[in-house]
Amino acid sequence: MTAQMEDQRAEGGRTGVYVYGILPGDIKVESGAEGVGDPPGEIRVVRHRDLAALVSDVDLDRPLGRAEDLFAHEELLDATAADVPVLPLRFGAVLTNDDAVADELLGAHYDEFTSALKQLEGHAEYVVQGRYVEDVILSEVLSEQPEAAQLNEAIRGMDPDASRDERMQLGEIINNAIEAKREADTQAFGDALSGQVTASVVRPPSHELGAVYVALLVETGKAEKLRQAVDRLAEQWQDRIELRFLGPLAAYDFVGAAAPADATAGD
């Protein structure tokens, strides 16, 4: 591979080694798996002792970030995580060459990566995202907040330009009420699933109608039970929250600077 890169350098193209994730060394990669870039680079493995990194060569003169690039990164890692523990890297990680991956990344942080992988062994991440059904949640707010209902009435008779302050005020009340509901529902969600998960991280809402957005680290053997519990919640919340269940994913939310140490703290 280094030879291939040198060839490319000789042709004038600048290439780097894009790194997807770090995993135990006893894995094989099917030939032909494609990564980021256009044309996509072929996925291969760089090893150091019993650690491995999934990488592909990437053209440094072309910006990365097309939808295809993002999907390629995530799909590779998620598919991997379904079978083996993997430490996923954030999108856009490029090193100069294979030696740098082996020595500076895997070698220099061998103990840390090995222990993090050990903690992730037998786990996968699942993400549950819920969004409030707008009409339903707004009705809830109107019936619970007399001030909002009054403002709403007042605005109806007003010229849109003249009512801007009132509309801002009304919107703020609604937004605050939804924030409070989000917090309460996220708490209820956590309570309902606490027995099924090893650790959990609440993600910041990605939408103004976001209800719950939680990443869960789950033992592979408990995944089905978790799914059933989420199904029950979905049924219970049917009219007001639409729930989505994503996974298994690589443990993106549990590999931050201090996260590996926390990853099993919840059990």
Partner: protein, 130 residues
Amino acid sequence: MSIAPQSGGSGVAQRPQASGLADVIDTILDKGLVLDAYVRVSLVGIELVTIDARVVIASVDTYLRFAEAVNRLDISQEKEGLPGLVGDMEEGGAKHKTKGAIEAAGDKLREFADAQGGDRETQRSRRRGD
């Protein structure tokens, strides 16, 4: 997909819900190990052109949009609450919308009725018979 499992398969029987682009953006641009924290010498900067699709929470736009949505909502709820009235209101609404055309047609009809020596009764019975 591309990795051969080292041991048995996973315990998850059902297929996961597909991730959309927004899910992927939320995940791999925000989470995961940051290489900079581990490697300095051989780190290569590469230009990333990623779109941040996330909605900014609690912006002015959000407030105004909520106000608008809740205002619309109230009207539709009144309709649902009073089904008898809704039919009338909708009919009224429809009449308003096409007022110009109906008036024009009405003028023609009146001319016709006048020519026939008829009155509004005639018009009404004709309509019922339709």
